[in-house]
Symmetry: C2
Subunit: 452 residues, 2 copies
């Protein structure tokens, strides 16, 4: 018995070391290709320079889809199509926020939160009240808040190491703050930008309204400090907020889908994607042009290297991660209606910096298979494969039991640029981008090869 | 016996888990401090903006030393002094390289290698011969090379993952190329910049002459491609090289040393340092202003947190890593003459990007103690503590048996900027910098506490 066991173990070792060595060669081929390729980088240049501010419903969002569609067609993907859906949308044309002094106005750098209602052309003029968070506002109560502009000014907690946690330390003000202020009778809201830098860029983002909506905007961290100083000097300080924005009750939009057909199980889809939309104030380089071009690059790599995928590799450029998550929900619905078997889904929407790891949202047995690939990807920067959330666009697939994954990168610079004009092409390192494409292609190659 | 062993193991676990928890608290204090501090970042701004091009022998190098000296004095270090030494030096005032066409000159972006000899005011005019490396030049031999300008144009191997290895794939041309070309009778040398980017910045660096010296310069990767194209079109292409440079037979320069005295073993020095000099064409942000301000920050952290170091923590701003390594050698000599006990030395000269790890050049037993600290530093980005080289400035201490360490960071962007004007302050992330200061302070705190 013991001898048999030893023999089996020995054969297993032989087999797995042979297999590993073959996999090592394939991974090396992937990275040989990717580290010399500038295709994804050039695609990103187009998205950032020609289609900045490509929020749901904008002309730029359609131009971005069109560009990537013709890229996939030129690449020779087996199938390229638009998955159409209807959704409400929102448009912002301008934001103007000023401190009103006796003899002049001091303009603050601001961008509306989505989906802020518009003001009249004259804008709102009101006194301002500064608070450090939701609890403080609740304590002040309706009497103090009613008729005022509320200014949430609690900075992020910079002591945290991962900047997604830094972001999490202040995001409640932007996400829940306007609704709470509205409930208490405020007429407008300003929020200190949720950013790791002290600079002059407003960082916008979405806010969650209840019944009542009031105009709301983010101001840059520098402007937040300026405003706070003015409030200290004058308790009766007045602000003006003017926002030109519009709710669109229903528009038609699209996810872009491109497939490379599998040889054995063509009806099983290995999904890899990012979101093509970006905030109206941003070129959307790291959020999330890069996730799109990396996902597209996975298809290029499979095709150029002839990796013979058993299952269909499907890249999806999801529309509207930022505002209503309509694209991710529409794909899940489309999958359900059409009985699409999404075998696994990987989303890249955590910045395109140096690779760090993957998160897996799946059963223990599937997690255990995927985490077993870590050693093969360690030479390329993957330090961990751990349980965790995946991505906003693929998350609606979870209820159908699809195993989900997220690609994770070094977070240190991400919240410097997130949702702002500073998230521009020059913030991208081609090598960091390409290592990411390689890691994503590599892990999906292994998932396809070994299955679960 | 077995019970005793179990008991001992149990006590050890109790003890070490208690110790670890105390250490965890101290490390958290270090990072709480450092992630909210902008002192090192502001020091770096000064070095980059006010003392760029601070090569050995330049006014800027002395201004940089003066600035950091007054920083240490203001900090209240127990001892701050200049360690004087004499050394040859070299100065470059200008570099001009052009393609000579019938009706015009095409200027190429170039910077002299150090220590290139000067040309006359008229410069060198000669035919050019392009090669892909030293072996090709050797094969061509004296007849083909004599009287010509040699152009080494082999690009780096971008397929390698660590960019120090990418650098290593082409550096032989810059380092040994001019000497070989001189030996074969060439009158000048141009080298394709050793860089991971295709751009217009020349990346200079040192070259190793034998007996004979000839003028030599690096041209940007874009200019290298332009030149190569011109050579393809015209085999008799002529170039002009004009370099205004000067060898200085002997100058006086300094390492800057600042100490925070140890409470138990004040005569044992824990050295932490970077090099204050930078190439004449560069602000020297990542190479190595950042290593200097991080080392200085280690002292600040010990002082502000009252970390009660048993041994003296000594920060050294080494002069002249780039050209003749005179500062590092001078400190080793000074240590020997004065019987200085350098307990351990850590150098930060591999970029100030997100922390990755430490390398240790020491005995197995010391390595084993230091690598045991990895778990404590993992939450702050330290993925490895492995055997490896340390730094050019502390390396001369090796012959006296001093254990050496190197701080290592994410390398992906380093060779984009190295030894060029692009190595500027805006390429630095304050969070990446500060995590580095924290990791360095953290590991030295542990080394001091537990000893070897």
């Amino acid at each position: 018995m013991r001898i048999l066991f030893t023999l089996i173990a020995f054969l297993f070792i032989i087999n797995s070391s042979f297999a590993q060595s073959e996999d090592e060669i394939t991974l090396r081929q992937i990275f040989d290709n990717v580290l010399e390729s500038d295709v994804a980088y050039n695609n990103l240049a187009y998205l950032c320079h020609e289609t900045p501010g490509r929020l749901l419903g904008s002309d730029e969002s359609i131009a971005a889809i069109d560009y990537m569609k013709s890229y996939f067609e030129t690449l020779g993907a087996d199938s390229v199509f638009l998955q159409e859906f209807k959704t409400p949308a929102w448009k912002c044309r301008s934001t103007a926020v000023s401190i009103i002094k006796k003899d002049k106005k001091i303009r603050l750098r601001a961008d509306a939160l989505g989906p802020s209602p518009a003001t009249t052309d004259e804008g709102i003029i009101a006194n301002v009240i500064e608070v450090q968070g939701l609890e403080e506002l609740k304590k002040l109560g309706e009497e103090a808040v009613s008729g005022k502009i509320v200014f949430y000014n609690r900075p992020v907690n910079r002591k945290l190491v991962n900047t997604f946690r830094v972001y999490g330390s202040a995001i409640d003000q932007r996400y829940y703050g306007p609704a709470l202020a509205a409930e208490l009778g405020a007429v407008g809201v300003l929020v200190r930008s949720v950013s790791t830098r002290t600079d002059t860029f407003p960082h916008t983002g979405s806010t969650q309204f209840e019944e009542k909506k009031i105009p709301c905007a983010a101001i840059s961290t520098v402007d937040a400090d300026i405003l706070s100083q003015h409030i200290k000097e004058n308790k009766d300080l007045q602000l003006s907020i003017r926002i030109d924005a519009e709710d669109l009750p229903e528009i038609t939009s699209y996810n872009l889908i491109a497939d490379i057909k599998g040889s054995e199980f063509p009806e099983e889809y290995i999904v890899v994607g990012g979101h093509i939309d970006a905030w109206f104030n941003s070129p959307g380089a790291h959020d999330d042009g890069i996730g799109c071009v990396q996902s597209a690059d996975v298809l290029r790599i499979f095709k150029e290297l002839g990796l013979k995928n058993k299952r269909t590799i499907r890249a999806i450029m999801f529309m509207d991660e930022e505002l209503y998550q309509s694209g991710g929900n529409a794909y899940a619905q489309y999958s359900e209606i059409n009985n699409i078997k999404n075998y696994i889904a990987l989303e890249a929407d955590a910045g395109g910096f140096t690779p760090e790891g993957f998160t897996v949202d799946a059963s223990d047995s599937i997690y255990s298979i995927i985490s077993g690939f870590k050693g093969l990807l360690e030479p390329y920067g993957i330090h961990y494969i751990k349980k965790g959330g995946s991505g906003v666009d693929i998350n609606p697939l979870k209820k159908s039991g699809v195993p989900l994954m997220g690609y994770r990168t070094d977070s240190q610079r991400y919240m410097d640029i997130h949702h702002s004009a500073w998230d521009s092409f020059d913030k991208v390192s081609i090598r960091e981008l390409q290592l990411g494409s390689g890691c994503m292609a590599g892990i999906l190659f292994l998932v396809d090869k070994y299955g679960y």
